[in-house]
Amino acid sequence: MSAPEATTRPVGGLRAWLLSDAPANVWQARAQRAYFGWLTFKSNPIAMAGLIIIATLLLIAAIAPLLTGGAGIEQNLGNRLQAPSSEHWFGTDELGRDIYDRIIWGSRVTLYIVFLVSIIVMPIGLLIGTIAGYVGGWIDTVLMRFTDIFLAFPRLILALAFVSALGPGLENAVIAIAVTTWSPYARLARAEALTVRSSEYILAAQIQGASTLRIVIFHVVPMCLSSIIVRLTLDMAGIILTAAGLGFLGLGAQPPLPEWGAMISTGRDFLLDQWWVSTIPGIAILVVSLGFNLLGDGLRDVLDPRSGASE
């Protein structure tokens, strides 16, 4: 047994409960872990910035009707290509629509895409990965070969091909992106499952007679969640950029949906003189992607011990 570490900080109350060296039960231990995670996260200004950005995005999307005059789809051809003013904060586009409104409502489109891709990719990746890692044997080999094949594909190109075959549209774009994105998660989940598989508590569960499915769902999957969530957050920016790229090519959300990538595309012809039509949506995409990247970076610092202090 090693000697207790010498600390010099006096503590009391909730803080004492969170910092004590000997947690009395599972909940305290979990709360302590979460607290340390939060402390580390908080000490990283970059991560906090990311959190603020994403929280703002969620807020904006949620209260969009309160923030805007219309839905951003009413055309007003007499009012087209107006510069930013007090009436139209971001100006108007080539069909006279208020860009500010479109940006705000576009946040919902962005979140919708992110959400859809996530709920497709996570379960598929988790299921395939944990089963492959836990069960092992030829199931593992087959599943991993399958995963590796998809892992090796170029994402955007394949998404393009998919959409060209399925036809343009938001849902098709989501499917195309999801199909090309799930494989790293399966790999990740499998790696975690392999580590967890030989743990003693899994052995204990097996001895107690838990079925394979039960063990996988209740014991293996939770262990994989943290690295998958970190990876997903980091990938989020890439997903948004891919979706915007598809939108830019006219393959994603169809008009009149205010998708930011499509907005950039339509403003292209007016870039020289009416720069705001294309530029502002681009800034929006930049900020949101940046937010996810910062957040993911911070999460990774918290959950990956190696990024700590060096000599």
């Binding site: 000697a3 207790p4 570490e5 010498a6 600390t7 900080r9 340390f36 000599e311």
Partner: protein, 285 residues
């Protein structure tokens, strides 16, 4: 001791910044080292390794070193410039680490690593450095030095790796050697050989030695003076010969925990930790 001590430390403190708050790994220790062998014994977390690193100013970047005095041969180690430190490290004070599997550079041949240690502190040609390294490999009793020179660390055994480490750290002829758990990663039989080698080399060169270990027996047979550390402080210091007469309850506890030949079949006592030991101790001589 008639001559001036090589190393002189007074009130050394090493503190680390952590999300939990500052953690003091070393809490005010004093000691001196001449041309003798000093052993520092303690459990993990006692601060013994951090003491060794602090001497070379190689504490992690989130740590800070303070001391009323930390001198080597009249040089103030606390205020020393980078350049001064580069001149001291390896050249006048060296350190060998525990596990050659990790402490040797994996993508450099062991011979090149030894030669590098030599060339850092002497302006010699590559050929001369190589010759000296081969000679050093022989000195640490490695047969076929030519062959071993071209091997990579993952290709040599633990014992050989430690000898290479010793060769590398002694080739510039330092005055002081810090050995941080030099044999803990080795098999018992190999431990004997490496220790014997260390013994010879330290004696031949008249070096000062700081041996850091958790092994009380080892330290008591190998060293002249022993420091017992616990919780970042020195609990007791005494000549190795007097160890069995130790007064401090912690030391006595450690001694009692050691199984002895012919010591009866009763249960080994378990060390009872007195929280008073964590309180700041006075600076005992």
């Amino acid at each position: 001791m008639s001559e001036k001590p090589l190393i002189s430390v007074e009130d050394l403190r090493v503190t680390f910044r952590t999300p939990k708050g500052p953690v003091e790994a070393v809490r005010g220790i004093d000691f001196e080292l001449g041309r003798e062998r000093l052993g520092i014994v303690g459990e993990s977390g006692s601060g013994k390794s951090q003491t060794g690193r602090a001497l070379l100013r190689l504490t992690a970047s989130n740590g800070s070193i303070t001391a009323k005095r930390m001198e080597f041969d009249g040089i103030d180690l606390i205020k020393a410039s980078k350049k001064t430190l580069y001149g001291i490290r390896g050249n006048r004070i060296s350190m060998i680490m525990q596990d050659p599997k990790y402490s040797l550079n994996p993508v450099m041949t062991v011979g090149d690593q030894i030669a590098e240690a030599y060339r850092t502190h002497s302006k010699v040609s590559a050929r001369e450095a190589r010759a000296k390294s081969l000679a050093m490999l022989e000195a640490v009793r490695i047969r076929e030095p030519e062959k071993v020179y071209g091997l990579y660390p993952h290709q040599v055994s633990g014992g050989m790796g430690q000898r290479i480490m010793i060769a590398m750290m002694l080739i510039p002829n330092p005055q002081v050697l810090i050995a941080d758990e030099p044999t803990s990663a080795l098999d018992v039989t190999v431990q004997m050989q490496v220790l014997a080698l260390l013994d010879d080399m330290v004696r031949e060169r008249g070096m000062g030695l700081i041996l850091i270990s958790h092994d009380l027996n080892l330290v008591s047979t190998f060293c002249d003076t022993v420091l017992i550390m616990y919780g970042g402080q020195i609990m007791e210091r005494l000549p190795a010969k007097e160890l069995h007469n130790a007064q401090h309850p912690y030391t006595r506890g450690l001694l009692n925990c050691l199984p002895r030949m012919g010591g009866g079949h009763g249960e080994l006592p378990v060390l009872q930790r007195d929280p008073a030991w964590m309180q700041p101790q006075g600076h005992s001589a």
